[in-house]
Symmetry: C2
Subunit: 215 residues, 2 copies
DNA sequence: CTATGGTATGACCAGATGGTCATAAGGATT
DNA sequence: AATCCTTATGACCATCTGGTCATACCATAG
């Protein structure tokens, strides 16, 4: 995994490292993997192309390194939310997790865009592995919430856990997508919503999950 | 909309038209829009590149024409399901609609792949318009089911309709994605599921929607 | 002052792209 | 047979791509 980056890069002053990673993230977040241009990256961060190929083995190496960094940031953020809400009720934790997701995306839109690229660009290197890792993390996160909810008697114990997690995962993912891809969301207008409205919509959704649709 | 295709193309014998559209669909479904190659299309269907540019204004024109055809096929299929289940109960209609979706994708995987491309390739021409159209259709479809369900007293009338539709739309879309993108679905294994299993999972999901999660 | 070794450079390569256009082929009407 | 119009062709163009490599730079060590 780390054999894609050369020690030359790690020896660089941190500011320069960051400038390069920033340019790479911007480019990969903007275009599809194959369309992302190494030429654009180097001219954006003001180094020679040859230099970049002294830092990384190839384009794929740059990509994997950037992706790894992005994922670890997401991980850290969500794990923190889980710990901070450990004592609260299941449905409250759902709401707070979703809110934290929205907040993360608004602060790191390019990282989320990178994730969307992995989701649907079939030609991303090692896509299967990267994608599975991310989704598995989400499923584990939700699974741990669900199991604790069941143990505390806050949610029904008679439901197949996998299906519950699937439903929650689907809803979370789409909600987050809707906050930044307006065309996804022809009903709730989440992209233009302020935080109060976001909270309201989250409350409504979790309310439906809680009590069901049947009359 | 139709000013992208030239009359020359429409005058062609139907078999030749189909061969060309088939090659174009295959290529657009396989790669991202910008990565899809006109050269590949023409050699796949055995015509000269110049000919293709006599049938369509440019690459974008080919794409929009193919997309329009695909969308109208989806529309026809789903409208038929809606009509055929008009008399049945809300939750049954949900189940049958989902099942019809799975069936359509298995019979027309390339069309569904094309849709996924629109979803996440930010550089697809007129993406906003195409995407909004598709999502609006889904929302209208589900909305009509919901309103009839409310009118018949099958589902609660006290819920905000938009939010209900949003939830259903999210769940439907992800379920369909899971049936053909294994990495999406680390919990249910839908890709390998036979029809009996698919029916079971659909039943469980709709069951949760019906009665909620709370203990 | 020189030698060493890591670092930086950008001209260059082969290959691909979308799109063009002069030319040719077909078929119908005169 | 001659004219005319539509359709078919593929060599060609400018432009971009990821990747290479001989060369230059520069700090330290002898």
């Amino acid at each position: 995994m780390v054999d894609t980056v050369r020690s030359t890069f790690l020896n660089l002053p941190e500011a320069k490292q960051e400038k390069i990673l920033d340019a790479a993230l911007a480019e990969f977040a903007d275009k599809s993997y194959e369309q992302a241009s190494v030429n654009v990256m180097v001219s954006a961060c003001g180094i020679a192309k040859g230099s970049l190929y002294q830092y990384f083995k190839d384009k794929k190496g740059i990509f994997l390194y950037v992706f790894d960094l992005a994922v670890s940031r997401v991980r850290r953020t969500l794990v923190k939310v889980k710990e901070e809400t450990a004592g609260e009720e299941f449905f409250t934790r759902l709401e707070k997790s979703l809110l934290a997701g929205v907040d993360f995306i608004r602060r790191h839109p390019r990282i989320y865009n990178l994730y969307l690229k992995i989701l649907f660009d079939q030609r991303v290197p090692e896509r299967e592995r990267l994608l599975t890792a991310v989704r598995r993390f989400a499923a584990d996160y939700l699974g741990s919430l669900v199991r604790q909810g069941v143990a505390r008697g806050e949610i029904r114990a008679d439901l197949p856990e996998h299906t519950v997690i699937f439903l929650l995962d689907a809803l979370f993912d789409r909600f987050l997508q809707a906050t930044c891809v307006p065309a996804f969301d022809v009903t709730l207008n989440l992209e233009k919503a302020d935080e109060r409205e976001i909270r309201e919509r989250i409350g409504e959704l979790v309310g439906i999950l809680r009590s069901g649709l049947a009359a």
